[in-house]
């Protein structure tokens, strides 16, 4: 798992979502990356990362914890990432 300090790389978040939230998808809007899963009405909004790092931004663990809690996949997410 590629991390910088305790930051989590977006590619690792994607791998976690592939395993824990199959069928998830995302849409980048101007200010946030909107992540959708199943029939959960409200998407989770992740930061896009610093300018020029949108492809693989590094994300604070708190955002990933919130994402996992929002989708009800926290136990699964913990098995993948250092949360």
């Amino acid at each position: 798992m590629a991390t910088h300090g305790n930051l989590i790389a977006w590619k690792d978040v994607k791998a976690m979502l592939d395993a824990c939230a199959p069928g998830w998808w995302h849409r980048d809007k101007k200010h946030r990356r909107w992540v959708y899963y199943s029939d959960i009405q409200t998407p989770f909004k992740l930061p896009l990362g610093k300018h020029g790092r949108r492809e693989n931004p590094e994300i604070q663990p708190g955002h990933v914890k919130g994402l996992a809690r929002h989708f009800g996949i926290y136990d699964c997410a913990k098995a993948f990432l250092k949360l």
């Binding site: 101007k30 009405q41 409200t42 989770f44 708190g62 914890k65 919130g66 809690r69």
Partner: protein, 153 residues
């Protein structure tokens, strides 16, 4: 790790595609204080988090994140009515775990198990909601100072 139930009031003026809207929210969030830093989890509205090295930094980032999400909603909304609907959905989109933990944290505050003298207090039963109003005729009568964040008690 400590968890604090927060209530907050925020005011924004958002420019949409052909409309100007005033958005007033009375919401709630869960503030997590951990060894590595602080993260604030939206409950109503839900579906986002802000982080920081300190409580002040995290709350400031929460405020910025909330506004940025309103901007995202406005960008896609083809009409004021669509923007209004999507803002309501944003507010209503709570997840079960944060709601349950927020309510438990309120009980902890009331029982004296949690205290936060660095925050003022406001009733956990304070009215909650989001009001999105079209601004056709700006008036100073509509100006309101926002409440900011407080510990829900």
């Amino acid at each position: 790790m400590s968890r604090y139930p927060i209530v907050f009031g925020l005011r924004d003026i958002i420019q949409g595609n052909g409309f100007l809207a005033g958005v007033a929210v009375e919401g709630r969030a869960l503030l997590h204080e951990e060894e590595g830093g602080v993260w604030v989890e939206g409950v109503n509205p839900g579906g986002f988090v802000a982080t920081g090295h300190s409580v002040a930094e995290a709350l400031e980032e929460f405020r910025r994140s909330y506004t940025a999400i309103l901007f995202d909603i406005a960008e896609d909304a083809e009409s004021f009515e669509s923007f209004q609907e999507q803002c309501q959905a944003f507010f209503d989109g709570s997840a079960e775990t944060p709601v349950r933990e927020w309510e438990q944290a309120v009980e902890d505050v009331r029982a004296g198990r949690i205290s936060a003298d660095w925050l003022g207090r406001r009733s956990a039963e304070s009215p909650r909601g989001i009001v999105v109003a079209r601004i056709d005729e700006p008036s100073v009568e509509n100006n309101r100072v926002e409440e900011g964040a407080a510990l829900a008690a």
